[in-house]
């Protein structure tokens, strides 16, 4: 579904990604783990077209995303939950969700999606008319995911959804990702919380210093000696 091959990305003169190759197949949950500054978010942003990769290719559903402007890439049936949530703080939950379905012209379809998202996150239903900025971090993260789902993406990119959340909320978020898998959404998950992410994921990649150093199934990576030492606390 998504095929990244030999991607090289630079910030000015500094090379952030070295020959990164990743594949996400339909229906999978794939996770990318790594330490701070390993290039996880850079890879995510390169997928979205900002910064533009210097070389390599990104093929999404048989079509190269290279050279497309960000706004166009995000309309190809792909949605991202950006790092740090980035909900529209002074808009209500309802308006935030409506922005997610901006390019859907059919009112009935929009309402169907809204119902589905609210079913997934009953909490958002309770907070429907509340301004997003006044909600807790966990609720905002749910809103960010819900907003991304409103465009009915075939591929959902998540950038550190567990960032700054309480463990119990993280559990809830991961439970919802599990539900999404059952609903047939393909998920590409970037995480620092390696333990949770690998338990959930079908396959995983480990990144270090801008390179992919390991690639295996989630279960295998969980028991891998090096991974355990580096990311799972021994």
């Amino acid at each position: 579904m998504l095929q990244v091959s030999n991607l090289n990305t630079f910030y000015g003169k500094i090379q952030a990604l070295h020959d990164v190759s990743i594949e996400v197949k339909r229906g999978e949950i794939v996770t990318l783990i790594g330490a701070n500054g390993a290039g996880k978010t850079t890879l995510m942003m390169s997928l979205c077209g900002d910064p533009r990769p210097a070389s390599g290719d990104i093929i999404y559903e048989g079509q190269s995303l290279l050279g497309m402007p960000t706004a166009q890439i995000m309309r190809q049936g792909m949605a991202i939950v950006p790092e740090g949530r980035r909900v529209f703080a002074r808009l209500t939950v309802e308006e935030n969700l409506a922005m997610g379905a901006f390019f859907c012209d059919d009112k009935e379809v929009r309402e169907e999606r809204l119902e589905r998202v609210l079913g997934l996150f009953p909490r958002l239903h309770e907070r429907f008319a509340q301004r997003a900025g006044t909600m807790s971090g966990g609720e905002q993260q749910m809103l960010a995911i819900g907003r991304a789902l409103m465009s009915e993406p075939r591929l959902l990119l998540l950038d550190e959804p567990s960032l700054g959340l309480a463990p119990i909320i993280i559990q809830q978020i991961f439970a919802i990702l599990e539900q999404l898998r059952e609903a047939g959404v393909t998920v590409f998950l970037v995480e620092q919380n390696a333990n949770q992410a690998l338990k959930l994921a079908d396959r995983g990649y480990v990144m270090e210093h801008g390179r992919v150093v390991l690639e295996d199934t989630g279960a295998n990576l969980l028991v891998n000696e090096d991974v355990r030492k580096a990311y799972l606390g021994g």
Binding site: I73, P82, R86, R90, L91, E95, F102, F103
Partner: protein
């Protein structure tokens, strides 16, 4: 529950003393001496009645509160703000509009003139509200578009003899074009940097108008700009060749007030159209994207929205209304010069938007009235007026930073 005897006596005495001094006695000049004139007994009866009322109210406070609570309320009342009810809201708007329509027939000429000025500022405030309040782009050069609108009509009238109505449309288009042009270089700027560039843009336009002496007449300005007509009926004592005057056509005596009233009503119609159009825009997807853009540009891009289009549309549409206001201003004054379009105008318009509450339309209307009428009332303070202005702004920032009437967002209820 008890009787508040002490506080009741105390407040009654305070009321009696204050009102007795304020209303009961007056200093007047008799010849070279000041004499104290005591008001007649009816005033004292009123004072006594007021003190008695305050006494009783305070004495029976608890009972009154209880009685108030006992009044049965219709279901769902009191829960929400009264003004949230759509029917009531419409009624309030209707009353305001009728009052505004009736105003010129009841008020004096200078009041109508002032009200017309208020309406021009309302239009400008509403236009800038799109850019600053909704899209969150701090624009300090808004007066530039106002100037473009005014000069477009003035120049078209001077060189091509174009009338007000076609001039109005041309001014709107021209200002929109300039808004679009300005939009491009500032696409990548935000916050302070954006403010500086737009500030510069406003000044460029003014200085350009000042120095293009051959075309615009420079500092001498442009005079004899034709007044608006009503279906080609002139508001003048004698009509120029080939036209007819308003009073001739309707067979009434000439009255110079007709034109003042007509200008006021014209401005009112323009404002109502502006209000309506912007209100619609706010409920349309484009209005939502402006607000989303103000909140988070990156999130907007993540959702597949194109920030370029959003910003350009905000600048263009905002500028259009300034263009309309500008051409009306030129037609009303009959004379314009670059003097009228200095930075202070931009500052006042921005102050109107901030004072009213960013994004709130009714707030802008209220703030425009305050910002225009107050300086008129404070004429006797002369050069201290600006100081009062500043003081008001500071007090606002302390006590009501969200503005007089902060924005209520239109929203629909979720179907259960």
């Amino acid at each position: 529950m008890r009787l508040h005897f002490k506080s009741a006596i105390f407040s009654a005495i305070v009321v009696a003393i204050l009102t007795a001094v304020l209303l009961g006695v007056r200093l007047t000049q008799a010849g070279s001496q000041l004499t104290v004139v005591v008001a007649d007994s009816s005033v004292y009866w009123k004072i006594a009645a007021a003190a008695g009322f305050i006494f009783l109210y305070n004495l029976l406070r608890d009972w009154i509160e209880r009685a108030k609570e006992a009044i049965p309320r219709p279901a769902g009342f009191g829960q929400r703000n009264l003004l949230d009810r759509p029917l009531l809201q419409k009624l309030v708007w209707l009353i305001i509009i009728i009052a505004a329509l009736a105003f010129p027939f009841l008020a004096g000429r200078s009041q109508i003139d002032l009200a017309t000025l208020v309406l021009i500022y309302v239009m400008l405030g509403l236009g800038l509200n799109i850019v600053v309040g909704l899209a969150g782009l701090l624009d300090l050069g808004y007066v530039g578009f106002y100037a473009v609108g005014a000069y477009t009509y003035a120049l078209l009238a001077q060189y091509f003899g174009i009338g007000f109505w076609s001039g109005l449309v041309a001014s709107g288009i021209m200002a929109a074009f300039f808004g679009f042009i300005l939009g491009f270089p500032v696409l990548r700027l935000r916050g302070d940097y954006l403010a500086i560039v737009t500030l510069g843009f406003g000044e460029i336009i003014r200085i350009l108008l000042n120095n293009l002496t051959d075309i615009t007449g420079g500092p001498r300005g442009i005079g004899n700009i034709p007044k608006p007509t009503l279906f080609n009926l002139e508001f003048a004592r004698r009509a120029p060749e080939g036209t007819q005057t308003f009073h001739d056509y309707f067979g009434i005596a000439f009255n110079s007030n007709h034109r003042v009233i007509f200008l006021y009503l014209l401005a009112l119609v323009l404002v109502l159209i502006t209000l309506f159009v912007i209100n619609r825009l706010m409920r349309m997807p484009i209005g939502r994207t402006w607000e989303a853009m103000r909140e988070d540009e990156i999130a907007c891009r993540a959702l597949g929205l194109n920030p370029t289009n959003i910003k350009l549309s905000a600048f263009t549409i905002g500028a259009t209304f300034a263009g309309f206001a500008g051409s009306f201003f030129a037609a009303r004054q009959g004379f314009i010069s670059p003097e009228s379009f200095t930075f202070i105008e931009s500052a006042i318009i921005l102050a109107i938007v901030v004072l009213g509450g960013m994004g709130s339309q009714i707030g802008v209307v209220l703030a425009a009235i305050i910002m225009t009428v107050l300086p008129e009332l404070a004429r006797e303070f002369n050069e201290y007026r600006m100081l009062l202005f500043g003081l008001m702004m500071v007090l606002m920032m302390i006590w009501r930073p969200q503005g007089l009437l902060p924005m209520k967002r239109p929203h629909v209820e979720l179907r259960q």
